[in-house]
Subunit: 351 residues, 2 copies
């Protein structure tokens, strides 16, 4: 596949990193006292290649798709909720709609493979591969060609969007199952550690989900390469999102990752091009079991875990966590650009 | 003292709490999936007494004062930094200035007792009790009358400010020492657990600080009542802030607490009127050793610890953490007001 050959260059620029750190260290504050905001400012400066980063025209894209596996009862909600929530996103009543309005984020919804057709609307892109993936317990969720098309769609979507920051969101009943399977397969963790309550299964429901996913994982024992695993487990929204992540990384956009599902798309993209995670800001640690585990694999280098900004027990998806964390990124840039230095403000240093 | 008799009514309103919870539970999202944002929305609804809370004209007030004890070498920075940073706040170059601009927070700086006189300026209130507290290692930091005056000043400041939300900030070289002493005295924790690096002392510096603070604590062994402890240890900015907290609580404003120092002011206020903490949102857990311990005592009831929203290793003060967390409060209210319900959006519930 063409997409596997994608090269994302390493962001390493020791001279810029040193200038950014020097600038942070001479701001009017005790050394390091802005904590992780300082690391965030440094990272964004490196991604955008400047000491004066400005986040411009941020794009929140919600990738939506249905999952054939949902018929196996792996979710607390029926598949119909996917298209209903797409309508809700577009009507402005969903959590992510509210948060996007609050923060001035341009919201785009992509039908990557919703079972039901959604009427054309402003801010809706129809990039439907098929009306839902196939049931992954009896065959691959999608063909290799469909997987490639979804990734290409994701790349093209980002190419057509303005700005230098992409916030990831998703919707798809059944997609915590796909994300759990990708996590287990691509990292080798025990499946049971990778499976959680999703939209709110009870203990028995989680047990049922684990049992089904164990079958699915075994059924696709040969699907070990990233794209083979992605095709085996789905979904269309995760594949399209993985393409968007690759393109955004290639364009040096700041990528704001939401929760468990969008992290799974980043995991796939990282396995194709490891340097993508250098461009990723992990907005929050989801309440979904498995996300903390996944973050361990998504650090800027193989040696470091990714650290999420927020830890508020969110487990909604949609891009809600990315939107909630967004002002912290804006703050990091503003502090870097606008704070006075000890010298410029005439403030004494340590005694 | 008059201030000790202050009554802050309990916020308990089971009918409103139930309506708020019902509203949250019927929003288009899995039950509880917005995590701590839901508890925050519930709390703000209760403080403002409405199911449709709107945070209006938020006021970020930075209380500044100097500490006689700073002469004993308890800080990494000289006392001159207090007035220099006041100038920096007013000139717009400090972290809190940048963040207040970003979030549209009205910034007011109060000279509660800065050693040097600061020239009159818009957004500066001069409520100076004295040019710095006395050295608490040789006597009380302030007299009982000064303490009472500072609290009255804080109450009057809030009375004159518009809006329904108060964000706390502070500046004062030496004030982590006062906060540590208040924490140790008012909660009974071992002093060594209450003392940290402040603006950035090294290990030897922290040891020196501990030694001095141990002396001060012993010297004022009789100062056990909240206001006696406050007068003994200072500072003017903490006392003025405690008054502001009491008044804001009485007026049912939402109080956004910053880090270690402002939490110490809340601790004093809570000991005078326990229900103040029901109105407090703890913006972040500071990197300053002792803050996590302090939060344990500041929950909405004596049984619960306070939970901070952010945990980013911040240890700057100024109100920077309160400003960084502010958009989360705005989000909580917007979600409560603007999200669709399952019914209104025609979204199916769990299968």
């Amino acid at each position: 596949m063409v997409t596997t050959k994608m090269q994302i260059p390493d962001l390493t620029d020791p001279a810029l990193a040193q200038r950014l750190q020097h600038k942070l260290d001479h701001k009017t504050k005790p050394l390091g006292s802005l904590g992780r905001l300082e690391a965030l400012a440094l990272q964004i400066g490196l991604v955008l290649g400047t000491e004066m980063p400005v986040l411009e025209q941020p794009q929140l894209v919600v990738f939506a798709g249905d999952h054939g596996l949902a018929a196996r009862g792996v979710s607390a909600y029926p598949s119909d909720v996917t298209w209903q929530m797409v309508e809700n996103f577009l009507a402005g009543g969903a959590a992510v709609s509210v948060l996007a309005r609050q923060h001035g984020l341009a919201l785009t919804v992509v039908d990557c493979g919703v079972a039901r057709d959604v009427a054309p609307r402003e801010r809706l892109l129809v990039r439907k591969i098929a009306p839902g993936t196939a049931d992954s317990s009896t065959g691959p969720a999608m063909s290799a060609a469909q997987c490639e098309q979804a990734i290409a769609n994701g790349r093209a979507i980002v190419q057509a969007l303005p700005g230098n920051a992409l916030l990831l969101g998703e919707m798809g009943i059944g997609n915590t199952s796909a994300a759990s399977l990708l996590l287990a397969r691509l990292t080798g963790h025990e499946l049971s550690e990778c499976v959680g309550a999703g939209t709110g299964l009870d203990k028995a429901g989680i047990e049922r989900k684990r049992k089904v996913l164990r079958e699915v994982l075994a059924f696709h024992a040969q699907a070990v390469a990233p794209l083979e695993a992605l095709a085996a487990f789905g979904g269309f929204e995760i594949a399209t999102m993985a393409g968007a992540v690759l393109e955004a990384a290639a364009q040096r956009r700041v990528i704001v990752v939401d929760g468990f599902i969008s992290s799974a798309a980043v995991l796939v993209a990282q396995r194709l091009a490891p340097a993508v995670t250098q461009r990723c800001v992990f907005s929050h640690r989801s309440g979904e079991c498995g996300h903390a585990l996944m973050l361990r694999h998504l650090g800027p280098t193989a040696q470091e875990p990714a650290r999420a900004l927020l830890d508020l027990g969110l487990r909604l998806g949609e891009g809600s966590g990315a939107a909630l964390a967004w002002p912290l990124l804006v703050s990091a840039c503003a502090l870097l650009r606008e704070m006075a230095s000890f010298e410029s403000a005439g403030v004494s240093g340590p005694a």
